[in-house]
């Protein structure tokens, strides 16, 4: 099934998402990786509305003149597993990354009614075409790891885990 979603994301929408569904996101989303997660959790005051927000795990390449952003594919999500939990408790509804995640993350995801999506890893050139604008809103000193506000149009993802406990990853069940 295909879903065309505008941000912010409501709980009602999250409940409709099933593993393997294609999701096309439009609107504002926020980037955060390892160091930004650490600060967001510690400092407890993001400069954006975290309720219903979408977090994209990405550290883009520098934008060439005339482009809003450089190459922008997802980074491995597992590194953010523990730090993502308090952010879901504060209202993050969708997280976009690549690769599988821990049991404790999956449990917290279901409890908080949030969803983990994957975008195709290593396709940063392709994904950049869906990003219409980009600006740094927090932690400028982190460079590529700073929190960017991105405006995206039909940003393509797949539902990786759903609220029923299903997984898109072939190795999840047997591990």
């Amino acid at each position: 099934m295909k879903h065309y979603l505008d941000t912010p994301i409501t709980e009602n929408i999250v409940e409709q998402l099933v593993v393997g569904d294609q999701v096309f996101i439009s609107g504002k989303i926020y980037t955060a990786r390892d160091q930004a997660h650490l600060r967001l959790v510690k400092e407890n005051k993001p400069d954006f509305d975290i309720n219903g927000s979408v977090i994209y795990y990405v550290g883009p390449t520098p934008a060439r003149p005339g482009n809003p952003i450089g190459s922008s594919g997802p980074t491995s999500a597992y590194r953010m597993d523990e730090l993502a939990i308090p952010l879901m408790e504060k209202g993050v509804k969708l997280m976009i990354g690549k690769g599988d995640r821990s049991e404790s993350f999956r449990k917290a995801m279901i409890e908080n009614k949030s969803i983990y999506l994957i975008a195709t890893g290593g396709t940063g050139a392709l994904l950049a075409s869906r990003i219409k604008s980009s600006k740094i809103i927090m932690y400028e000193d982190l460079g590529a790891e700073a929190v960017h506000e991105l405006v995206v149009k039909n940003f393509p993802c797949f539902v990786a885990y759903d609220l029923q406990g299903n997984s898109i990853f072939s190795t999840t069940a047997t591990r």
């Binding site: 550290g59 390449t61 520098p62 491995s76 690549k98 994957i118 195709t120 290593g122 396709t123 590529a144």
Partner: protein, 279 residues
């Protein structure tokens, strides 16, 4: 003696670094296309198609193939009839500095394990040098991303575990890595030496031409067996299942202590960025 000025080294390494970050090797693209045809799962096919579309866009020179443009790894074989006017590490680092700035590549290197301040120019590169006969320099250059590097493992096995023990370790490593190292992957295996030697020859293994043939018949057979068994694991492109997990397995070996059987598994993602140049 032949003088190779540092300016020549800098220019060649810089150009190569920019090129590999925007353009996949065509024989590798052919392997990806073949994998897509043979893939049995629709979602997995779609993911390989994304990878193929991505390299078409990157080739135009606006957006690098991947946002993780890596840490630079260089193997330089320097002929002992070559005279250099600067330390080779300095020339390579200068090339990295220029390439990552002029090529709009991400600076992904931090100085300290805990302070984690960025060096802002992607230096230093990791440089391995070797003195060889001749009057030229052969340089293998790679931009190595962390997604696949983080899933790489070295283990000191006991000699009596033999081929089956090595196979089990490699298959477990690939299975446990799942989708994290961005499959379809290339698997480089270093067998023997000691702790660091096994890792270095595993890195050299992922830089080998995928079409070359292992001169050691036992290792050739092991490469082929692992290729089949890794693809039978069902990890699939980006971990979503299917019969495309690896596009190549390369094994290098080195003599070792009677009591040791070191094994290193170095994983290369599908953004397979490396090239060899001779100056």
């Amino acid at each position: 003696m032949r003088l190779i000025p540092s300016t020549d080294i800098i220019e060649t390494v810089k150009k190569t670094l920019i090129k590999i970050n925007y353009e996949l090797d065509q024989s590798f693209v052919t392997r990806l296309r073949r994998a897509k045809e043979q893939e049995n799962k629709a979602l997995s096919k779609a993911i390989i198609q994304d990878i193929l579309d991505n390299q078409e866009i990157a080739k135009k020179g606006e957006f690098p193939l991947c946002q993780d443009t890596g840490i630079v790894v260089v193997f330089a074989e320097i002929g002992f009839d070559v005279k250099l006017d600067n330390p080779i590490e300095d020339s390579i680092n200068q090339a990295v500095r220029l390439a990552y700035s002029e090529g709009y590549l991400r600076k992904s290197v931090v100085k300290h394990p805990f302070k984690r301040e960025n060096t802002h120019d992607n230096t230093p590169a990791i440089v391995h040098t070797k003195l060889v006969p001749g009057d030229n320099i052969k340089i293998k250059i790679a931009s190595k991303g962390a997604g696949s590097e983080n899933m790489s493992v070295v283990k000191m096995l006991t000699p009596t575990v033999g081929i089956d023990g090595v196979k089990k370790f490699v298959l477990d490593t690939i299975f446990n890595a799942g989708g994290k190292p961005c499959p379809p992957i290339i698997v480089g295996i270093g067998l023997g030496g000691n702790l660091e030697k096994s890792a270095i020859i595993a890195k050299e293994a992922i830089l080998r031409d995928l079409d070359d043939i292992n001169p050691d018949p036992i290792l050739k057979e092991l490469e082929e067996a692992l290729y089949t068994e890794i693809n039978a694991l069902g990890v699939g492109p980006m971990g979503v299942g299917g019969n495309t997990t690896c596009l190549g397995v390369k094994i290098n070996s080195y003599p070792m202590h009677i009591a040791s059987l070191p094994v290193a598994v170095n994983i290369q993602c599908h953004a397979n960025r490396h090239e060899e140049v001779t100056i």
